[in-house]
Amino acid sequence: MFRKIVLTLPLAMAIGHAGAAENYTEMAQDEILRALIDKTGSAYLGQSPQNLQMMPDNPAYWVAEDGAELFNTARGPNKVTLEECDFGKGPGVLEGAYVELPRYFEDTGKVMDLESRLVHCMTTLQGFDKDDPAVNKRHGSDSDMMKLQTYIAMQSNGMAWNPPMSHPLEKAMRDAGEVMFYRRSGPMDFSCQSCHTETGKRIRASTLPNIHEPEEWSKAISWPAERAGQQNVRSTEHRLRGCLWQMRHPGIVPGSDASIALISFWTDAARGQPAILPDLKR
């Protein structure tokens, strides 16, 4: 009997270990969140049972469907699809592309996030003018930009955040973003740190994510996400804009190097944790 236990023990441990670590990519978004809540007991992650219940009916899934159609439609003056667009893992490769952004791109010599890469492909490959509403309208579930971003990001659901840090420019941007994270300024003396480096703290009734708790931070940065109270799917740049607005800092230009530096740092902070894409938030 003893021998039987000894032999099954490594097998049980192997199954248990594999089940805990690798299943996220096969999980629905709410299952991933439940797993993270079970793992951590985080007040931030578990603050809304109602939200968890609504996740299977996330309106963002419809937006992603629209995005899939747009992606595969020949559009713009050049009448091509976005299948030739390289999001970092090769032209048209979407699986796992979003969790490896921002990253350095040889063709532009810049570190780019999804939004700026999409703008690049829509203008250079499809030939849209940068002021064309298809490119310029960045917010709202009815925008091409949000449909495409939601679709593309969804192809990374459950995958570990893994922005590359091998190129010196990637590291430089990430490190500058870290300095900016801690940089207090403006009439309220706020920095990102003012709200995001302690666990379980609340602004009014909302529990805040701590950047030093990777499981919390993974949900925090899981955008695009449907904002239930705003009835629209919102992007990473939209979230950044909202933060800076509340901090009483000046508005930021989406796709600007300062915005990429911050997004770079905050994505690196969630490294290894499963992304929840698209997410549902209040």
Binding site: S185, D189, C195, I203, A205, R248, H249, A261
Partner: protein
């Protein structure tokens, strides 16, 4: 922290040497300064951050702001902000605490006629209101706020129990009831609202008076909300 900067700079320098030329990155961003190409990888993170903030057109710095002037001014740091930012996640050290609290005490201005308690009902609204000073895609129009921009106290503090306050700062429920409203307590409270760094160097609390967020009159109403026995805070 100094050690960390050296390490990062050393790695950046070494990597640059190893990879030789070809790592220049154009600084130009739309309407930004079309300077000579700037090598981000040869800058320290601190220098690059300042560069990104001020030299790349990343922020909408020319927007007019409610206090007058333009938004770019809000990105400049004063000594208190600079010293406190350098701490990152570390608790304040004695040297920084000394400098910051001295700066804070020197900044405090008392109202003409002395510290007075105003109307707690106005203070209640000011403590709840998060309106004011926001710029960017939507600018708060202060002429639309009957009592002026709010103090947003409930953002971080629990005050009266009829509304939900945050937990970033200590709970202030029963503030006046627990402390009484003697002269020393009034002065201490005024000082904390005006510039909390006087007592809590590198606190997260905004410098409501010193930064011009709240007027003398507004502070008097908020203090009434804290001290008046009739205020819900003390019920």
């Amino acid at each position: 922290m100094l050690k960390k900067i050296s390490g990062t700079a050393a790695v950046a320098a070494l990597t640059t040497m190893v990879l030789a030329a070809g790592l220049l990155h154009a600084a130009a961003q739309g309407d930004a300064d079309k300077a000579d190409a700037v090598d981000y990888t040869s800058m320290t993170p601190e220098a690059l951050a300042e560069h990104l903030i001020f030299k790349t057109g990343s922020f909408k710095t020319d927007q007019p702001v409610q206090e007058g002037g333009v938004a770019g001014k809000r990105l400049e740091q004063d000594e208190t902000q600079r010293l406190c930012s350098a701490l990152r996640d570390q608790p304040v050290d004695g040297d920084t605490a000394g400098k910051v609290s001295a700066l804070a005490r020197a900044s405090i201005k008392y109202p003409e006629g002395g510290i007075k308690l105003g109307d707690w009902k106005v203070g209640r609204e000011l403590a709840w209101s998060g309106f004011g000073y926001r710029v960017g895609h939507r600018n708060d129009d202060h002429s639309q706020a009957a009592n002026g921009p709010g103090g947003n106290c409930y953002n971080c503090h629990q005050l009266a129990t009829d509304r939900t306050g945050g937990s970033i700062g200590p709970a202030l429920s029963g503030y006046g009831k627990l402390r009484g409203s003697g002269e020393a307590m009034l002065k201490y409270t005024y000082d904390v609202i005006y510039n909390a760094h006087a007592f809590f160097p590198c606190t997260k609390m905004p410098r409501m008076g010193a930064n011009g967020v709240l007027s003398d009159e507004q502070i008097s109403h908020i203090m009434a909300y804290l001290f008046d026995p009739e205020s819900p805070v003390n019920k």
